[in-house]
């Protein structure tokens, strides 16, 4: 390690291309923006997208978490804590905690950002919402319903705050996260959740039965959505699915065209066990 | 004839050693490659010991080198023909002489320098440490005891690499090492003491002149040994106290840039 032994040979830059590019970057007027970026809007009205994620196969037993601190509270009366990354509804096979958000929309319906804080709570040393979504600018009430202190550390943001027992503090996300970002408690390292913040608010997390609903999406034109799951083996957690009708890619993206004032149901999206790491 | 020249070459080569050796020592002080300026009270004695031993070993050096030259010159085969060397078993008298003479010289040196050694390593001034120096890879961490003169109390002053001491006063350094062997070397104060992990070694000196000099590590202590360089500032008692006070104020700052606030 460190001696260069067995180190991969790194690619070398293309000197000439770099030189040319440097000249282009240094000249102020060489702006080559051809107006790309936001696709032109072709449709009108707003529609709603729903669907349901279904886990195919037998879900593996959840791993028990090692709880070595504050056991008087966290594992009182022989309580055990389990890894929550894979939650499958027993009767319907619905896959919970899948994040779906709009990746590309040509227009955004004007909606008020809710002033009512979204509650993100932790109790008996677990985050009550393992995956939560919020719109940028919406206040989040980070609560602690335990008799012990926690800290909540949202990676990739400025937020890592002490949350005293029984208290709460407000956190207002100011930037998009891209893919969901991890939330941890450093005092209790087994505690883990994910948060996703979107500027346009077009983001949903599948519920216990695996269903999700995204209202107020632009209708009459293509909308591209991004899908994520914590255990996905795809790049950056992107969740692929076998849905050629919606051009569902290995990067976890699919496109739909909605009809105005209608709810479009794309049906059951089957996720094989292998897509979630076996 | 060719062999004669070869013999000449070797004898002259051996002659060059004492000639050049003496020349180097004669020239060095005039081109400033000599002992650094001495600003310590005990330095004169150390230096005179150094000169004394230099003279003593210098004479022996010149005599032995000249003998070496003379023998090569005199007993060159080409000049003396095929005359065979005679085998002798050795001379007991000679051996006794050249064992006793160095032994006497050594004994003399050991006794002669005893006082200087005691001054530097044994007669520690009765006082509390002026400063604690902790050597570590690769810097000198300093701790001044503060007004209560006790180390390990809340008024300690913590600094790094920038050692200040008062002039014309006994200074007692408590030397420690945090990791490996280092050597606390103040060339201008004729002080060099190894810092040994796990030991608390007292080092003392009295500076006689104000000024800024080097503090370096004189024991190869790792790959960053070269950068383990500090600075010693010798200043008057008033300046020293003012400096301590200023540094302590900086250490206790509760607002950014207290100096600016005071202006």
């Amino acid at each position: 390690m460190g001696c260069g032994q067995g180190r991969l040979v790194a690619p070398t830059p293309d000197r000439e291309a770099a030189e040319t590019l440097r000249v282009a970057l240094s000249s102020e007027d060489a702006s080559s923006d051809d107006g790309a970026g936001a696709a032109a809007s072709t449709g009108t009205g707003w529609g709603t997208l729903t669907g349901r994620f279904v886990f195919v196969g037998t879900p593996p037993a959840a791993k028990q978490l090692i709880v070595d601190k504050d056991t008087a509270v966290c594992t009182a009366e022989g309580r055990k804590l389990f890894d929550q990354s894979l939650q499958v509804d027993e009767s319907t096979g619905g896959l919970a905690n899948v994040v779906v958000f709009a990746r590309k929309v040509s227009r955004v319906k004007e909606r008020e950002i809710a002033e009512e804080p979204l509650v993100f709570d932790q109790k008996v040393c677990e985050f009550l919402t393992p995956v939560f979504a919020a719109r940028v600018g919406q206040p989040i009430d980070v609560r602690n319903s335990d008799p012990i202190g926690h800290n909540t550390n949202v990676s990739g943001t400025s937020f890592n705050q002490l949350i005293p027992a029984g208290e709460g503090t407000l956190f207002t996300p100011s930037r998009e996260t891209g893919m969901p970002t991890m939330v941890t408690c450093n005092i209790h390292p087994w505690m883990k959740a994910y948060a996703v913040f979107r500027e346009d608010g077009y983001v949903a997390v599948s519920s216990a039965d695996g269903s999700f609903t995204l209202p107020d999406l632009p209708a009459g034109e293509e909308v591209e959505l991004q899908v994520w799951h914590e255990r996905s083996t795809g790049p950056n957690g992107a969740l692929g699915a076998d849905m050629p009708a919606y051009d569902w890619s290995s990067k976890g993206r699919f496109t739909v065209t909605l009809e105005a004032d209608q709810t479009t149901n794309i049906g059951d999206i089957e996720i094989p066990a292998s897509a979630l790491g076996g | 004839m060719r062999n004669r020249l070869a013999g000449l070459f070797w004898s002259l080569l051996f002659l060059a050693v004492p000639v050049l050796g003496v020349a180097v020592f004669a020239v060095a002080p005039s081109i400033d490659v000599w002992l650094p300026k001495d600003v310590s009270a005990h330095g004169k004695e150390i230096d005179s010991l150094f000169y004394f031993i230099l003279a003593l070993t210098g004479v022996v050096f010149i005599v032995t080198e000249m003998l070496l030259f003379w023998f090569i010159w005199k007993y060159d085969v080409a000049a003396r023909g095929e005359e065979k060397a005679t085998y002798i078993h050795g001379s007991h008298t000679l051996e006794v002489i050249w064992t006793i003479i160095p032994a006497v010289v050594m004994l003399f040196l050991a006794i002669y320098q005893m006082n200087a050694w005691a001054d530097v390593k044994m007669r520690r001034p009765v006082m509390k440490p002026t400063v604690e120096v902790v050597a570590r890879q690769f810097e000198w961490r300093l701790r001044y005891p503060g007004p209560d003169e006790e180390l390990g109390t809340p008024d300690d002053l913590f600094l790094v690499n920038d050692l200040h001491v008062p002039v014309d006063e006994d200074v007692l350094v408590q030397l420690k090492s945090m990791d490996v062997l280092h050597s606390f070397f103040l060339p201008n104060l004729r002080i060099k003491q190894d810092a040994v992990p796990g030991m608390k070694i007292p080092v003392w000196f009295k500076a006689t002149e104000t000024g800024q000099y080097d503090l370096v590590c004189a024991e190869l202590c790792g790959w960053g040994h070269y950068k383990m360089k500090g600075r010693i500032t010798i200043e008057s008692r008033e300046d020293f106290d003012a400096w301590l006070e200023q540094k302590y104020r900086e250490q206790e700052a509760t607002q950014p840039n207290p100096q600016e606030d005071m202006l």
């Binding site: 830059p13 291309a17 590019l21 005092i187 790049p235 | 900086e250």
Partner: protein, 421 residues
């Protein structure tokens, strides 16, 4: 460079020549690299962020595109280039960059390689040749996280913050003091650290952007000014510039008797509100939390866990093409993990009894640490939860901890670890 000689020797060995020849051969083989070392050394290059590249599953041509864009924007280790948008001073960078040499007026150049790169690496990736031997590891500048500063947790440090770190060193780590280099040199080095950090962050953004590309981009980043400057460079550079005006305002210490303040601080330390005790331990020896990682180590830790599960994933429902691609990626990732990442290490909460404070010992420094938390480390922010007065009480308590048993500062035998437990 010793390859030809080595093969030549190998060819000789199987023949029946006396062992003396092979011995001579061995000698030559050992000597040749030394002799060859006297010749020209290859120019220093920046090492790509291979961990991120493997994580993002970049193709070789994509890695090359990133390297090319970065060379256009930042130049090479020997010849740095900066765009005006970075706000960096090229004159300072030149003093710090390049091999160690004296310029025409006898001024020493190449300061970074002389003083910093053996730990922090030429690229500033914290993986210089001596890095693996140090604990904690040297800082990797590339993610742009810095611990000890006067700004809010997620903000960049100010120029003055980094100067302070270089001047004081970081006691408790392997970072020594560089104060005696003088202001100009320290200033140049700080500028260069900022340069390496910006470059590293730009590299991360570029590598991560491949995932954002659409299918019609064909896996190539747009090389336009709009994209590279507006989307990649400016968001990083602006945050460095904003830091200068974002220093935390520190209210005056409340005028309370010190003993009283320490007592209140102690209450907070052990209480449920500030909860310091959870990590720093009931003895304050830093033994409360031993199995957490800092963000730098967490990157490697999490990725190696991901890789582990990828190894265990069944490949049975992959097409043969997908399977070979998957295997190639795994093989590459394993090599990257071995050669381009240091073994993750847990982070130790600070032992508060030693009077060693990495980010500075001034009450002001401790106030910053508690107010904003420590970026990149598990230490959370207290601002918002605790009032400034309460933070000051904790500062006073913490400063009393190393001397708690001396009978001076509100000493209290029940604080002896054994009694408390």
């Amino acid at each position: 460079m010793n390859l030809p000689s080595a093969t030549a020797c190998k060819n000789n060995q199987p023949t029946t020549t006396a062992p003396r020849l092979s011995l001579a051969c061995l000698g030559v083989c050992c000597l040749l690299p030394i002799l060859a070392g006297c010749g020209q050394t290859p120019a220093a290059t920046f090492r790509p962020n291979m961990v991120e590249s493997a994580k993002q599953r970049l193709q070789p041509e994509q890695e090359q595109q990133v390297a090319t864009i970065l060379e256009a924007m930042f130049g090479t280790p020997d010849n740095p280039v900066v765009l005006p948008e970075t706000g960096l001073d090229i004159a300072k960078l030149r003093l710090a960059a390049g091999p160690v040499h004296s310029d025409i007026v006898g001024r020493k150049n190449g300061l970074f390689r002389e003083h910093c790169s053996h730990c922090h690496g030429v690229t500033g990736d914290g993986m210089g040749p001596t890095a693996a031997f140090l604990n904690p590891y040297p800082r990797d500048y590339r993610p742009g996280w810095f611990k000890f500063k006067s700004t809010e947790r997620a903000d960049k440090p100010t120029h003055a913050d980094l100067v302070t770190i270089l001047n004081n060193g970081i006691y408790g780590t392997s970072m020594p003091s560089f104060e005696l280099l003088g202001e100009t040199k320290v200033d140049a080095l700080v500028e260069y650290v900022k340069y390496l950090s910006m470059r590293g962050e730009a590299e991360l953004s570029l590598m991560r952007y491949y995932f954002e590309l659409d299918d019609e981009d064909e896996g190539k980043l747009p090389e336009t000014r709009d994209f590279l400057i507006e989307e990649i460079l400016l968001p990083v550079a602006e945050r460095w510039q904003e830091a200068e005006d974002a220093v935390i305002e520190v209210p005056e210490m409340p005028e309370v008797d010190l003993t009283e303040s320490i007592a209140m601080g102690k209450e907070l330390f052990y209480g449920n509100k500030a909860n310091c005790v959870k990590c720093h331990g009931v003895t304050a020896l830093g033994d409360g939390q031993a199995n957490d990682y800092d963000d730098w180590n967490k990157v490697v830790k999490q990725w190696s866990a991901e890789l582990q599960s990828a190894h265990e994933t069944s490949t049975s429902d992959m097409t043969s093409e997908e399977r070979s691609e998957h295997r190639a990626w795994l093989a590459k990732s394993d090599r990257v993990l071995a050669g381009d990442a240091l073994d993750p290490r847990t982070i130790q909460p600070r032992n508060l009894r030693q009077a060693i404070y990495r980010g500075g010992r001034r009450p002001l420094d401790l106030y910053y640490r508690i107010h904003a938390g420590i970026n990149g480390a598990p230490m959370p922010a207290a601002a918002g939860t605790l009032s400034p007065d309460e933070i000051w009480h904790i500062v006073n308590y913490i400063r009393s901890l190393p001397y708690e048993f001396d009978g001076e500062l509100g000493a209290d035998r029940s604080m002896v670890a054994r009694d408390r437990l």
